[in-house]
Symmetry: C2
DNA sequence: AAGTGGTCTAGACCACTAC
DNA sequence: TAGTGGTCTAGACCACTTA
């Protein structure tokens, strides 16, 4: 026989599955529910902790315990040693800035939504090299919203990445990263920098970095030489 | 003042940071530690639960509570509605099998390690179509180890994916997915199937699916038409 | 304002597993 | 096999949030 609090979990999940309780319903207050189930409040709380961790209920003071899902939500956790890895910046890489300018939101060349939240953006163009190899393995174009444009003077000394410069300067940290990856024929400009034939297949990764509450930190477009770079991901479930 | 058990967390983390306790050390047994800290065992357990959840300690019966990291490990959780999304199989897609054969492990064309765990593998070649568009948007080559080769007769009726067929047939579920993505020049064979010019840039995704304890479920090589497919990822930290 | 979850205590017995 | 974490109880007070 499994632990009592696990039985309680199962019981609640069964009640949800059978339609006896529905998503959106509120469960009784702890004290009441505990005596109703004939168990102590502590035990019930163990069960609730499990249901909360698995995304089945949400608990808020005064608002009670609310059912928000029918089944435990599988969690996809990414094996990553840091955002560096997530953003495909190797350990021994260096970022060299070629050009910095201020642009209008209309001039932003980034797929998807129109990022018109601020009129002016800082545009940073550069390239990334690895292990003292003078030939870069990626070219980068980064757009920084006006809010963080204050990094401009600091950028001169930055050799890691724009996002790390912003983190250090403003005391914020990246909270969320969305990426879109595709294969394209390499444009001439990037091909020249990467030492490739124009039109050869390259990987383009468009990334949006956010700090908190969906606040945008930067948009980034990177083009990678496929012979020296692959995108890895390692995801475990639950 | 924050909760007592949080203060205990912080205290332990501080002791680790100051070198007073080191990674690999064992913390005292709960009862002893609790009285040493002048708190109840329940409160200490709340602190331990937090430290365990954040990856700082590992707890095992009889072996005690061991420090395994100096700081709370940030968690990278991937926003995904399911493995389907993770593996870039759209909702309205269909998998059509072209060819099934048995091959030697030597004949496996998959980058990385030599997968010699089993001598014989089932090789499934197919393509994936979307929304009744007869022209596939991806070609697929899947290798299934001998252990799951029993799906062969069932494959005839499978139109979703090899991994789902294995899951349904053997009652297992995918536990971990590693992927490697790169841009390549499209081989002639795949170009014919996808309706592309040979040599045009395409996305190749090599994936390894595991069930549990690192047991391999399948190796998969997929080539995507970049005009109709992009790889998305959405990762939140902590 | 009060109902709710959050925190905390002091005990007890149990079950497993690593020594 | 015994030391350890796991489970469970019955109580108490508190702080917050939202109805």
């Amino acid at each position: 026989m499994s632990a009592l609090y696990r039985q309680v979990c199962k019981k609640i999940l069964d009640q949800i599955a059978s339609g006896q309780r529905k998503v959106g319903d509120r469960l009784p207050p702890e004290e009441e529910f505990a005596s109703e189930l004939g168990i102590s409040r502590s035990t019930l709380r163990l069960a609730f902790a499990e249901l909360e961790a698995s995304g089945v209920v949400r608990r808020r003071k005064r608002a009670g315990t609310q059912i928000i899902a029918m089944k435990p939500q599988p969690k996809f956790s990414m094996a990553t040693s840091g955002i560096q890895d997530l953003l495909s910046l190797g350990r021994n890489t260096e970022f060299r800035i070629n050009h910095v300018s201020t642009v209008h939101s209309d001039d932003i060349d980034f797929p998807g939504e129109h990022y018109s939240e601020t009129a002016h953006w800082l545009k940073v163009c550069g390239a990334r090299t690895m292990n003292d190899d003078p030939r870069p393995f990626s070219t980068n174009r980064v757009y920084v919203p006006a809010r963080f444009a204050g990094i401009e003077p600091v950028l001169k000394t930055a050799d890691t990445s724009v996002f790390q410069t912003i983190e250090a300067t403003f005391g914020v940290s990246v909270n969320r990263v969305t990426q879109s990856t595709r294969a394209i024929a390499c444009p001439r400009k990037d091909a020249d920098l990467l030492g490739l034939e124009p039109g050869s297949p390259v990987l383009q990764i468009d990334a949006a970095l956010y700090v908190q509450k969906g606040e945008l930190m930067e948009l980034s477009v990177a083009i990678f030489d496929p012979s020296r770079f692959q995108l890895y991901s390692d995801v475990s479930i639950e």
